[in-house]
Homo-oligomer: 414 residues x 2
């Protein structure tokens, strides 16, 4: 009666699922829509930055040679022959003991090579005195010191955060080649499921997994196609899966993957001829999480239990979707933290506990059965407790995976 | 010539700027557009969860009293009189030694009070044997054990992450009252600024601050009104600021706030009659960051230097915008990390260094002058080095503020 499944480790499951991800190709978007996308082209400096020698201060541009011999006892006087701010240029050259008054960001006259800051000058009308020598290039921001023309600044696969947007703007990228976003379908299965607008009735609950996954996708900037909730009937569910597989790059189902009498997803994988990558992972919750591939598309069979569903998405679906977009850092960022409480319960499987991380310590987010919705809402992290019989004491150092962070990490190490 | 300004500490500046934030009011959005918004209503459990006693396992629902006396030596036999999955209900009651076969999530018959898991039963056709007693409520998921009707699950001001979306769905919130998003204007000033599409010309650079701030706002889910780049002319710039102040809840300007000859923002604040909250902060970069308020609206005068601009936004503008939306955790999340390099340069002001944080250690993101764009693009954090003459050695523990994290923290402690 009970189908026997062989559990694999989480890292083995991650490896298997990632091995099948193929990239989806690119599209071009205007710069002002590029935030949050994944670069599908290299970002190279198209010119030096700064593009010209400029002043990093408000002051006077001089020829350093004219300062030679200046000291407190032997001051040197300069005549100001021009005055401009950033954006203007000085036509002509400085003569001996001449200077121009320039503001931060302004280009220097072609033969000036040092800047006297206001506080280094004794100003008197149209002239000023200095009491020290200035070295060539003193107080200058040199052409190309930040970035040199041709330099690779961000590789394809980079997440476009505001700093990358600033670089794209600097180099005149009005349009940006970014990874196409996958088309993701969500199909919640279970005769017990009501839609959000429906009143409760005996034995039924509202479908929370569908909207939750839609939000997990929205967090990644990915929209979804929401399919009508399916009851636990094989044929109608199979039809809906077939239709969704036509329309999407990847289909996420919730429920129906366990070994219960009305869990039809395993039969659907068989009918489709999908290749099951795994159907049992040595983790709690979500050990029944099943991933299969068919015609180059993914079927993520997440558990119907909300916490297991949430975690299955974060551990397996999220990195695959990022890899499909070519992202070089597809995994949840990881840190370690001091355990803020004692967790006595032991489990042979690795546990992922919805948790609150405050920057130094971590605690479970509350009632933590896999069917508990409330703890998902309170947590900002997943605490990872390796499988085994030991218990974990307050003060122990534990692994923490951070949720809701825009940039991840490039390797899976749990 | 040089205007003297009195610097205040970063924490004092944060306090001053936050003190003026007023909330903008609420609007209602459909559940599937609620992710990333700030709750403007409390989220309360409208019913118990689970809403009925249910089975957390696939197995048989029994009356526990019928198991009394069961042991390996004295097995008890049950007859299965029904079979259903989650979503169905059993009409009627169990008689003595009767059971129903139910699946995970299914409601129990009204007089059943325990569940025999499949692996605890010897199944034979339509009957099964047990070899142990079952206590009342054994293997049950009890009505209300996750959440009780009336329980406050998320207070107004909570960030709506996917777990909150799951709760909203569970309780039938088809629409959600969320904070209105502020209307934010961006006005980049500087005669040197070219638009992204314009070719470089002598003395000019492309405006990267405007697109960067737009992306920093997009990261918060806030769109912006981008005003035409203004040259360094007082009257035309004043007109544009006046217009923007009419149209926006908050205006962010870049450039023009220092004490240079063409820095007209201080004069504009004076002409508007705006109250300057501060115009000098003991921080690097961005010491000239100026914030003023006028008619209940903010004018953020960020530095024209890209890094200073970026940091000024994250430290001052971001928490104010979040407070205007009623968010209870408006500040950047903070952690500490091991310094991965030696930073010898001392500074009397607190330094915020764009940095790469890998979950345990932190390093500066590279070339780190305040006018460097490249380091913004590489970093995912700000390293905070307190002001003073000491240097910082590899292995020291330093404060780190994390960027691009959806949920912040409720207090500012740096």
């Amino acid at each position: 009666m009970i189908e026997l499944r062989t559990p694999i480790t989480v890292s083995e499951a991650v490896e298997r699922v990632m091995a099948h991800a193929r990239e989806l190709g690119a599209e071009t978007v205007p710069l002002d829509e590029s935030f949050g996308r994944i670069m599908a082209q290299p970002l190279k400096a198209t010119h030096d930055v700064p593009p010209f020698d400029r002043s990093p201060y408000d002051g006077f541009a001089i020829r350093s040679e004219d300062s030679r011999g200046a000291s407190g006892a032997s001051r040197k006087a300069f005549t100001v022959i021009g005055h401009y701010g950033a954006g203007a240029v000085f036509e002509g050259e400085l003569g001996p003991m001449q200077a121009v008054r320039i503001m931060t960001g302004a280009a220097l006259p072609s033969n000036a090579d040092a800047v006297v800051m206001f506080e280094q000058a004794s100003i008197n009308g149209n002239s000023f005195m200095i009491r020290k020598e200035f070295a060539p290039l003193e107080n200058l921001s040199l052409k190309g010191e930040d970035m040199a023309e041709g330099e690779m600044l961000a590789a394809p696969g980079s997440f476009i955060q505001p700093g990358i947007v600033a670089l794209l703007a600097t180099f005149g990228y009005t349009d940006v080649k970014v990874a196409r976003r996958p088309v993701v379908g969500i199909l919640s299965t279970g005769t017990e499921l009501l839609d959000v607008h429906e009143p409760l009735s005996p034995g039924k609950i509202r479908n929370s997994n569908g909207p939750m996954i839609a939000a997990q996708l929205a967090r990644m900037g990915i929209s979804c196609r929401m399919y009508k909730t399916a009851g636990d009937e094989l044929e109608s569910c199979l039809d809906m899966v077939r239709q969704a597989m036509e329309e999407c790059d990847c289909l996420i189902t919730t429920g129906g993957v366990s070994v219960g009498d009305f869990d039809f997803l395993p039969a659907i994988y068989e009918r489709l001829g999908a290749k099951v990558l795994f159907n049992k992972v040595s983790m709690r919750p979500g050990s029944v999480t099943t991933v299969s591939v068919h015609s180059g598309k993914y079927l993520f069979g997440l558990s119907g239990n909300p916490s297991a569903c949430y975690i299955g998405f974060e551990l397996f679906t999220r990195p695959v979707l990022l890899k499909m977009m070519g992202a070089t850092k597809p995994y949840l960022p990881r840190t370690t933290a001091r355990l803020g409480e004692t967790l006595a319960k032991a489990n042979p499987f690795t546990r992922f506990i919805r948790a609150v991380y405050d920057g130094s310590s971590v605690r479970s987010a509350g009632f933590n059965k896999s069917n508990a919705v409330s703890s998902i809402a309170r947590g900002n992290a997943l605490m990872v407790l390796p499988g085994g019989s030991r218990h974990f004491a307050e003060g122990d150092t534990v692994d923490v995976l951070l949720l809701g962070v825009e940039e991840g990490t490039d390797c899976w190490i749990i």
